[in-house]
């Protein structure tokens, strides 16, 4: 009888232990999901601002059609990628797609701003100044929220990879999450806006 009880107790402890790991994983995952919603709001805001910006720039940069087109296209792509991620920030592939699209968008915007240096009238435009100011501040907010998100993802990944959590994580289907980094180093900074 005693051995049965001992076995029972051990089984019970094991179950309790794995339930604990499972719950901890869930709470870490929830935390970075919540952190992503912070980024999400700002990204959406940015996608809303960009068409306005292009609209204003169009009036002055008549000969830079291609650049403007490229910005809009990059924006649409990024928006699509954002939509895919928003529902499931734990999906590593969707996340790296978003990071790629965001890099593209930042690059396109950077080129737009570089070109706008040649158009003093545009630089002096009140609307343009306001829009680019708002865009920069949104970029900053994205960067801040991204840092928080990446920290949360790191905590989750570290916990997930520890032994024996790794075994449970794989069994329960907790896959590795991807950090949200904007890849190419020269585009890592927010587009420089100087007026």
């Amino acid at each position: 009888m005693i051995p049965t009880i001992v076995i029972l107790v051990i089984i019970l402890i094991l179950i309790g232990w794995s339930v604990g790991i499972y719950n901890k994983l869930v709470s870490y995952r929830n935390r970075f999901k919540n952190a992503f919603s912070q980024i999400d709001v700002q990204l959406k805001r940015r996608y809303d601002l960009i068409p306005n910006l292009v609209e204003v720039a169009k009036n002055y940069m008549k000969h830079e059609r291609e650049t403007l087109e490229a910005v809009i296209q990059a924006r649409n792509q990024a928006q699509q990628a954002e939509k895919n991620v928003a529902g499931q920030p734990e999906n590593a592939e969707a996340m790296s797609n978003l990071a790629g699209a965001e890099s593209q968008l930042s690059g396109a915007l950077g080129r737009l701003f570089a070109l706008s240096e040649n158009y003093p009238d545009l630089k002096a435009n009140q609307n343009m100044m306001q829009l680019s100011e708002e865009l920069t501040s949104t970029e900053n907010k994205v960067a801040f929220a991204r840092q928080a998100f990446n920290d949360a993802v790191m905590n989750y990944n570290i916990y997930r990879e520890k032994f024996p959590n790794m075994i449970f994580a794989n069994a329960f289907g907790f896959s590795e999450a991807r950090q949200f980094t904007v890849d190419s180093p020269d585009e890592r900074e927010a587009p420089k806006v100087s007026f």
């Binding site: 107790v9 719950n23 952190a35 912070q38 709001v41 501040s137 907010k141 928080a148």
Partner: protein
């Protein structure tokens, strides 16, 4: 019933809970003892002699094992939920609402919660949405007002109008005040412990049924089969015993939960002065055939958390955690007495004497008129009146939109805190000190100087409300970012020459709300059961308050002593100003916070008598009081302490 009484009542309920728990555990132990005896007697009873039912050694073994199992189940759940309301909300599948959300219905919910928070003097809790739930329901959870979370279902967001939503949120806030939340979490733990026996039974039955069945077919040895069957039977009896335990659990849940729902309804009406809102919400729940049903698997053990019954059972009458909806509507608005929930709900019926018997006496009613008298303020602790809600709405509309927006977003919220601190310490200056550029990242610096343009024009009375509504955003920082924020705060107070009240108040608010979120912090153990041991601390506290009143220091101090005159030791005297600086005060407050509720009640009463001695509450006094109430854990509604001109 005032705030402290409500808290104490929650404690008494906890005692009741412990009693029932012990009863359930004993019951379970005995049933398991008997069951095992029956089995082993029939197994080993070869001599066919007398069957005895008294084996003290065996009883002890069973008690220890079962006790351990139940206790570990309970402790495990409680420790899991220790993290506070957000843990509960996430367990139920909640999604945290982003304070800077662009969704209009989520925005409306945030506004309602913020107004209620400012009115009540507690910081804005985390707000969650249960996206998958279509029915109307809501809950409040947490260990203390500092880590509270409020959750609503998607159905609530979409189907209720603003008044009804306000009623529901007020109901949840009153749960926060009444200390129901901590009790609720304990109850979840207890239920989990009792449930664990049931789960164990399931487990044994299944595992043996599978492996045992295999063995029987391969090896037609009668004995082995018998053993397997015996174990299966044992497992089944565990399941049954688990059910008995659950029955006990449900009884506890409903016995304690139901009366508190009435109370929370009463308080909600008292807060909003709009019985039709709450009644409308209840009516809408009643119209649905599913009521307030929650589909999540955890909903059963957490059903006592919810606004309305979260599950329906055949034994509703006996085990319902909530009173029937019609009864609740009737209690709120007798004009609708006897009415079943109806399609066309006209909110026009007058609510006359809705709570002749259930309404908490004192408090809110008084708070709705009248001047700043100590009695009014004391009565209003932990309750909100319509006036406070209006005052909160007023302040919220006074504050410029950019500042409010900033409070809803982590980067800007952090910058906002710095901007407010700079404005409080170095008035009207837009220069940022050199260290700030070194310590803090450039984006935050930029945002800070942008926000300072607004705070410069600001009113000091905005500052505390801004801090309150910034709390949820600040919780969205990562640990690294939080560390930088704290370092910035410390550096700033080091660079401020004299003691600064606002910085002190801010520090207390931040450390009480965020410290518990970012790191484990234990509540102080209660060390003081009367004021006799707190002589020096009281001297420091009242002296500091008296000096902050500006003039008539002596009078303020004397007035503060009035309500506690007979209870204090000798030697409580007005200290020289140098001896009651913020450092000394901080120490004193830490000691005072380790006292029992009745003692705290006297301390708060004394504080309020002190600040109202000259009938003017200065901003200094208001900020200091906010810090004190933060540490003592007794929220004072802001609408009541309306600072006079400085």
């Amino acid at each position: 019933m005032d705030f402290f009484e409500a808290q104490d009542r929650a404690k008494r309920n906890t005692k009741k809970l412990v009693f029932y728990y012990a009863l359930a555990v004993t019951g379970i132990i005995f049933s398991i003892y008997i069951v095992t005896l029956i089995f082993f007697n029939s197994q080993f009873n070869v001599e066919g002699g007398e069957v005895s039912f008294w084996y003290p050694g065996w009883l002890l073994t069973v008690s220890v094992i079962v006790g351990l199992i139940i206790a570990s189940g309970t402790l495990y759940r409680v420790s899991q939920l220790r993290k506070g309301g957000s843990a509960v909300a996430e367990m139920l599948g909640g999604r945290k609402i982003n304070p800077s959300t662009t969704d209009t219905s989520e925005q409306r919910l945030m506004n309602v919660v913020e107004e209620m928070s400012i009115a009540s003097g507690i910081s804005v809790p985390d707000v969650y949405v249960l996206d998958k739930e279509e029915n109307i329901n809501a809950f409040a959870a947490g260990f203390s007002p500092n880590d509270a979370a409020i959750g609503v279902t998607r159905g609530t967001l979409e189907q209720l109008n603003r008044d009804e939503l306000q009623g529901v949120i007020a109901h949840e806030f009153s749960h926060i005040f009444n200390g129901d939340m901590r009790f609720n979490i304990r109850l979840i733990g207890v239920l989990n412990g009792i449930l664990i026996i049931h789960i164990l039974g399931m487990l044994i039955t299944r595992s043996v049924a599978f492996s045992g069945a295999g063995r029987v077919s391969s090896n037609r040895n009668g004995k082995g089969g018998n053993g397997a069957i015996a174990i299966i039977l044992f497992g089944i009896s565990l399941i049954v015993i688990g059910y008995i335990g659950m029955l006990f659990g449900r009884m506890i849940q409903s016995a304690i939960s139901r009366q508190r729902e009435y109370l929370a309804d009463a308080a909600a009406v008292q807060f909003t002065r709009n019985p039709d809102g709450l009644a409308g919400a209840l009516n809408k729940i009643g119209l649905k055939s599913e009521g307030g049903e929650i589909k999540d698997g955890h909903a059963m053990e957490m059903s006592h958390l919810f606004f309305a019954s979260s599950f329906q059972s055949a034994l509703n009458k006996l085990f319902a955690t909530h009173p029937p909806l019609e009864e609740r509507i009737k209690a709120i608005n007798p004009a609708l007495a006897g009415a079943k929930p109806r399609r066309k709900f006209t909110g026009k019926q007058k609510a006359n004497k809705a709570f002749s018997s259930t309404e908490p006496s004192g408090g809110g009613i008084l708070a709705d008129h009248a001047a700043i008298t100590p009695e009014v303020i004391l009565g209003a602790i932990g309750t909100i009146g319509r006036r406070q809600v209006q005052a909160a709405g007023q302040i919220m509309s006074d504050i410029p939109t950019p500042l409010k927006k900033a409070a809803h977003e982590p980067l800007s919220a952090q910058a906002l805190m710095f901007a407010v601190m700079f404005e409080a310490t170095a008035k009207q200056s837009s220069e940022l000190p050199g260290w700030f550029y070194e310590k803090i990242d450039s984006a935050t610096v930029k945002e800070t100087s942008r926000l300072m343009e607004y705070t410069k024009r600001g009113d000091r009375s905005w500052f505390i409300p801004l801090v309150e509504i910034s709390m949820p955003s600040l919780k969205n920082m990562s640990e690294v970012q939080y560390k930088q924020f704290r370092e910035g705060m410390e550096e700033l107070s080091r660079n401020t020459k004299s003691d600064h009240l606002f910085l002190f108040a801010l520090d207390k608010m931040v450390s009480h709300h965020l410290e518990s979120f970012f790191s484990e912090k234990r509540k102080p153990k209660i060390r003081h059961y009367h004021l006799k041991t707190l002589g020096h601390e009281l001297s420091v506290l009242l002296s500091a308050l008296a000096y902050s009143s500006g003039n008539e220091t002596e009078k303020a101090f004397k007035n503060g002593l009035k309500p506690i005159k007979e209870l204090i030791p000798d030697g409580v005297t007005l200290l020289p100003e140098s001896k009651c600086g913020l450092l000394a005060l901080d120490k004193a407050l830490n000691e005072l916070s380790a006292s029992a509720n009745p003692v705290k009640k006297y301390i708060i009463s004394s504080v309020i008598h002190c600040i109202t001695a000259d009938n003017i509450v200065t901003l200094d006094e208001a900020e200091l009081t906010r810090a004190i109430t933060e540490v003592l854990g007794a929220p004072i509604p802001m609408g009541v302490i309306r600072p006079g001109n400085n």
